[in-house]
Each structure stands twice: as C-alpha cells, then as structure tokens.
Amino acid sequence: MRIKHILLGYNKNKNGGEWMFKIFKKSFEKTYAPVENPPAPSASSKISTCLSENTFYIRTRCGDCFDIVIRNVDVSGTNGFFLLCDGMCDGLKVNNNVIEPILNSKELPQEPVQKFETIRDKIVGEVDIKELINVEDALEHAMSGFLVFFLEGVEKALAFSVQGFQTRSITDPITDVQSRGSREGFVEHFKTNITLIRRRMRTTDLRIEVQDMGTTTKTKICLCYLMDRVDGEVLSNVKSRLVRSEYDIVLASGNIQPLLDTDNPAIFSAVGVTERPDVFCAKIAEGKIGILVDGTPYAIYVPHVFTEEFQSFDDYANRPYYATFVRILKWFSFIFSIFLPGFYVSFGTFHQEVFPQDMLFQILSAELQTPFPIMLEAIIIHFIFEIMREAGLRMPKTVGPAVSIVGALVIGDAAVTAGLIATPMLIVVALTAVSSFVVPSIYEPVAILRFVFIIIGGTLGFYGIIILIALIVTNMCSVNPYGVPYTAPLLPLTPAATRDIILRLGWKHLGKRRLETTKMNN
C-alpha cells in the first residue's frame, strides 16, 4: 500500500481514493503552487483613487506574505488603509505619532484631497514624510520600515518614517584595532553610519548621496565626499561605474568592490576597506570618495594607494618617532611575510654560500634529518598553517582551545621531534605567520604570493624570485583606475607626500600642505 493511500483513508473503492487524493492535491496546489506569471512591476503602477484597486495590486504583488500588513481604517467618513511591514516599524511611533492622531482628529475637511493635505501638514507629528505616487514605491518604502497611508479618492500616498527594526548597537571594530582611536565602529544600518560620520564632520561641504543597487535587494548605497576636495572626474567615474552595474543582489560592500576596482588583472586591490568612522572621515578629508553599503559594517573608499596599508590611525595619536618606528616595523613585517620563506628555500636549495658558515652547518644538520626537500617542507608547513588559520576563523569558540593544542603541540613540537620538519623551517614559518598579521588588510594577496615565491625559489632560485618581484612591481605600477597610480606617492615620487609614508613627521611639517591623493599623478 502506498503512503498516500494510508494518509487519505484508502478504501477498496479506487475511485473514492483517487477522488480524495485529487482534492488533497488541489488544496496543496492552491496553497503552495508558485504564482504563474505574477504581474510585473510596471512603471505606470500609479496609485489609484480607488482603494480596492490599490489593495488588489499590493496583494497580487506580494502574495500572502505574512509580514505585509494592510490595516483598513475610517478617517472621518473616508476609507483608507495603512500598509506596513511587520517587524520593521516602531510600534509606539506608529500608534502614537501616526495612527492615533489621524483617527482621533475631528476637524478634517470632507473633501478627500484636502483631508489628505491636512493630515500631511497638520495632523501627523513625524518629521520625515514623503509623498508617493506609485504603488511600487509604496511597497519599497513599506519594506524599508515606512508606514504608508492610502486614502480613498486621492492619487497619492504618504510614507511616514517610523523605522524601528532591531539593529546591532555600536561596538568596537573587530578588524581595525587601534590602541588610541575611538571605540566606535560602523554597524549594519546605513543611517546610523551616516550619523557617525556627520558627528565627526560638521561641515556643509560633506555630501551624502543615497542610491539603490541590486534589482532584487535594492540595497541602499551612500556616496560620501567633501565637495571642496573631491576630484570631479573621479566622482563621475565612480558614479558611472555604480550605475553600470547589473547586480541582482548586493548584500555586502565586497559585492560592489569589483565594480570600483581596476579593470586590469591586479594582485592588490585598489579599493580601501575600513570599519572605522574616524578612518573613513580622514580618507574623505583627503579628497577620496567613501561608500557605505546598508547591511554591512565595512565601508569602502577610492582611490586607494598601496602605502595606505601601512598607515593607521594610531600613527597620528602617537609621537612621531614611535609612529615612524611602527611604520618601519610594518614594512619589514610585510617583507618578511612575503619573501622570507622564498628566500630561505632558494638559498637552502641553490645558494648555500650565502649563509655564514656556522649558520650553514646548523641548517644543514637539521635539514639532512628530514625526508622532504626544503621546498616541499615549506609548502606543507605553510599549507597546514593556512588550514589552522581558517579553522580558527570559522570554528565555534568552545573548541578553540582544542585546536590551539593540536596546532602547538602536535604540529609544532611532534613534527619536529619526529624529524618531519626541520627546526629552522619552523622558525621561518612562525616568523612569517606572525609578520603577516601585522598588516592584516593585505593578508589575502600576501598568503598567495608567499606560496608562489616558495615554488619559484625552489625551482629557479634567487634569480627567479628577483624576476617575480620585478613582475609584481610592474603589475602594481600598472594599476591606475582613477588617474592615481596605486604605487603613489613612491612611484612616481611625490616628495611632499613622503613625509607621511615611512617616516611620520611632526604636525608642523604635516600641516604645511594639505595632502590629497587625487593629485599624486605623473
């Protein structure tokens, strides 16, 4: 017997069983069948004076969505309805600021249009009120947390800003950690982020332009820039790139980053990312264009140059000599993290004469005990490190200590004791790993390049590494998406800008001339 027969109360009368199954099937299809050919959004979906037409359109577009709520009301003898998205609005504001004043008002004109205008101008206490003429706009506003009001006999609707959905509170930024910077980081809601920026830049030159991206998600994108400092060509370039996009879904700033990045294949990204409003404001003050994306705490800015990866907000809070020391440390860490394993492999494989004699004996005695060639050893241990790093990033916090023990004891100690990995190699890997987190913003290209350098060093020696360095530098020099070379201000050299690259001079020197990235070209 088939299950459907059991469920439907099978009887020997096959016709009866089939009849009941057909009823069940019909009911199922009625409830769950996809709407074939739903009405497409039309540009001319104007609000009708007839409420039932508007209601029908909304119901047809949204289907039986649980959270789309239509509340019919009688406003002094005229029918109307409120449209909202359950969970997106602040209940108190909806009741106290909008619905109660409208329903309790007694001296409203009888004529619908005049009634509508009186409600808009005199009755409702909300500051942000928009007039809509299109049902599609009304739906979009409702899904953004607005309360939309329709009135019989009026070809418009009112949208009241009563958003009250749950958002994350402002907390410490996770990725951009500074010792003396503020403890505020961007959050997912773009209006909160705009507030964080506006609090720091109370100038009329600050422009914030909002647009929608993504045909399905209609995500809010905010362009922020200073009118008196931004380069007009760069701004129009950025806007045209964003407009040209055919994205369906935009859920993070990383989704639009490729639109703003260089068109040529490049190793490093020419778009900067930050989680900090103070850094964001500093970049805008240099004439750059910042972009906030609703739904993600990571803001992006363009144009971005390579030397900015080594600058941090703390540099300007600390004394110049210490800030300079930290910058030099970052540059050295970057060099170690990319080149150290490749150099070690190439010298160990091809150019042993480079090592001083005593060091050579130590390395030789350690490497002779391992079964793998140096290149393979380096690749294996780095690959294991990447696995552990990725596991550390994704794993639940409860198993964190266990992974640390496995990493430290099993892989670090046991592998060396068993003779699988040489101690000098482990020192190189450890130093490389720690160095790569000094500049975490460029970890991705560094991690990949490290492997490439290991392979090149193990096959072509130091000469191959040198050629690869030349290629990488040439590739970086070719990145020029907004007329600002990615390697500026070092290549081409802008002498005025070098006071804030490796050295961080005092404020007397830094304050002499305003530094604008968009002016660092050939």
Binding site: H351, L471, V473, T474, N475, M476
Partner: protein
C-alpha cells in the same frame, strides 16, 4: 601622434641608465679591446665624447618638436619613408633584444647556471618582459625607479666593501702602448648605445626637458662606468684581463663582516637591467609595427616579437652566435648610424626644406 601616456624625464633617465649598465657590467675585456688596464678608464672618457657627438642629431630632433616621435615625423614627410624607417627601427630593436639575450645567455651559462640547462630561464625572462611590455611604458618606467633603487643599494654595497682593496700599484702608465687601441675600443662601445634610438621613439610620451635628461643620462652613464672600471682595475689590476666578466669577480670579492659570497644578491639586480631593457625594446618594436602594418593589434605585435626572439635565442646555437654578436662591431655600427645619426638628419633636413618652402610661399 603621441598617446595620452606621459612619462617623466627622470623615469626615462633611469630606464636608459639601467638598460645601458647591463652592457657595462657584462663587458668582456677582449670585446672592449686589448689595452693596458688604466686605458680602460680613458676609454670611458672617449666613449662619452663620442656619444655626445653622435647624439647631436638626436638633440636637434628633440629640440625641434616633441609632440611626435621620429616615426610620426617620417610619416609626415612621406608614408612610404615612414614605413621604411619603421622597418629599420623594428629590425634594430629586435637586434638589440637578441644581442642582449645572447650577452645574458653567456653571462648566465658561465656564472649563474654553469652546470644546468638554462633554456627554461631564458624563456621565463622573455615571457616576463613580454608581460611588462603589454602593461605599457608607464608601468615599466615606474617600476624601473624601484629597480634602480635596488640596483643602487647593491652597487653601493660592492663599492663600500671593495674600495679598501684598491691598490694604486695595479694601475698601469697612461697610454703605455699608445692611444690608438683606446680610441678604437671607444668606437666599438659607442654603437651599442641604442638608448638614443629609444629616446627618438619615446619623445612624444616624455614630459620634461628631454635634452637635459639626455645630458644627465650620458654623464651618469659615464660616471657609473668610471666607478666600476676604477674599482675593477684598482682591485684586480692585470688579473682583470683574465676574467670573463670582471664586474662579477668584483662582487665575489666583496664581503661584509661575516657575510661573504653575496654575489648572488648583487648579480641578481643585473638581471633586472635585462628585464627593463628587453621590455622597453619589445614595447618599441610594437610601436614600429603599428606604423608599419596597422595600429590595431598592440598585444599581438608584442607576442609575435617575443616568439621571434625566443626562437632565435633558443634554437640557434647560443654560444656560437652570442660570441659572434658580441665580437662583431659591424652590425651595431650600421644600425646605430642609421637610427641615431642618418635618419634624424634626414628628418631634420626634410623639415627644414619644408619650412623654407612654406616661408617662400
């Protein structure tokens, strides 16, 4: 006419310096000429003088007009003449690439990879140069500044470590066997300075005072050569004449406290000079082909030239031909005379005649 790309004169100066330095560093005494060791220094003096004199047409060409390069100006005189000139310059640049690779082949098989097959590395370098040429002259010139800094550091490291070993007893009396061989050696070295032809091709893309840049380049080139030869002679004396590449021997001798045998670090920067030179020459060959054939297929010309160079470099007997290239002064002399002296003179005379005719009208 010139593209939108503009490169500063300082960057071009660095590109030209690096590309010429490789020849100086890998000069073999028999190629330079059989002279007494001190006369090598005076050879540099005569060489600089000869370069200045032979560069007069280039100076005058640059002075007249920098909005168009030599090919564009030849096309203005006559389209056919422009194509012929483009062909000559194209052949010249291909020759320069092959000669450079042959010199590098000789250097690498003797020094870098004496026991192994070097073919793969040559191919890799050509591919790297092809990639750089595709990225354009802006990228090459910017990266050359970085390479110059690296080269300078290694050069100064050698200088500071070996200058204490200089012994003035190693210097021979000046012109002990007469000045004839010294002057002859300068004439052999001069036609290898194809960077002047590169300036003629690039002048529409350079911003800044080109004449000043060229002057600094020639003087800078002379200074570098003088320092290198001074150290070679002062440290090694007559022993230098027995070495295949004396500059390499100098880097082997350099030591820094407990760090010895740093020659691999020092000589690796010489490979970067090859990289810059070959990249620029491939790029310029592409410009010649655009005038000769069609200006549609930028990357195709670069790829084709790389393949031609690779085939010639790999499949002909490298050692035999490399020595032929290096010892035979006729080919570079003919090409140099054409590209640096004759063609610019023809262009200048034609433009002058045109100006006179227009004035008379």
């Amino acid at each position: 006419m010139g593209e939108k790309v503009k490169v500063s004169i300082e960057q071009i100066f660095v590109v030209m310096l690096l590309s010429r330095l490789f020849i100086t560093l890998t000069d073999i005494p028999p190629i330079i000429g059989s002279m007494e060791v001190t006369d090598y220094l005076f050879r540099v003096l005569f060489f600089i003088l000869l370069v200045f004199i032979s560069a007069i047409p280039v100076y005058l060409t640059v002075k007249n007009d920098t909005n168009a390069n030599i090919l564009d100006r030849c096309v203005c005189i006559s389209p056919i003449f422009g194509k012929v000139v483009a062909f000559i310059y194209g052949i010249t640049f291909i020759y320069v690439i092959i000669a450079t690779m042959a010199r590098f082949d000789m250097f690498a098989t003797s020094i870098i990879f004496p026991k192994t097959n070097f073919t793969g590395f040559l191919v890799i370098i050509i591919l790297a140069c092809m990639f750089a040429a595709i990225l354009g002259i802006e990228s090459i010139s910017r990266s050359s500044t970085f390479i110059f800094v690296v080269f300078l550091v290694s050069f100064l490291a050698v200088v500071f470590s070996v200058y204490k070993k200089v012994d003035f007893l190693n210097f021979s009396p000046i012109f002990y066997n007469g000045a004839g061989s010294t002057i002859k050696a300068a004439f052999i070295s001069m036609p290898r300075t194809f960077e002047l032809a590169a300036v003629l091709m690039l002048m529409s893309k350079i911003k800044g005072n080109i004449k000043k840049g060229m002057t600094f380049w020639i003087i800078g080139m002379g200074l570098f050569q003088t320092v290198i030869i001074f150290l070679m002679v002062g440290v090694m004396g007559d022993y230098m004449k027995t070495q295949l590449i004396p500059a390499y021997t100098l880097s082997v001798v350099a030591e820094y406290g407990f760090l010895q045998r740093m020659d691999v670090l020092l000589t690796s920067t010489w490979i970067l000079c090859v990289y810059i030179k070959v990249s620029v020459m491939i790029y310029l060959f592409k410009d010649c082909m655009k005038t000769l054939i069609s200006d549609k297929y930028d990357n195709l010309y670069i790829i084709v030239s790389s393949i031609i160079v690779s085939v010639i470099t790999l499949f002909l007997n490298p050692k035999a031909y490399s020595i032929n290239y290096l010892l035979n002064p006729i080919i570079p002399l003919v090409l140099y005379s054409l590209t640096v002296i004759a063609i610019p003179c023809i262009v200048l005379i034609s433009e002058k005649v045109k100006d006179v005719k227009n004035y008379e009208k």
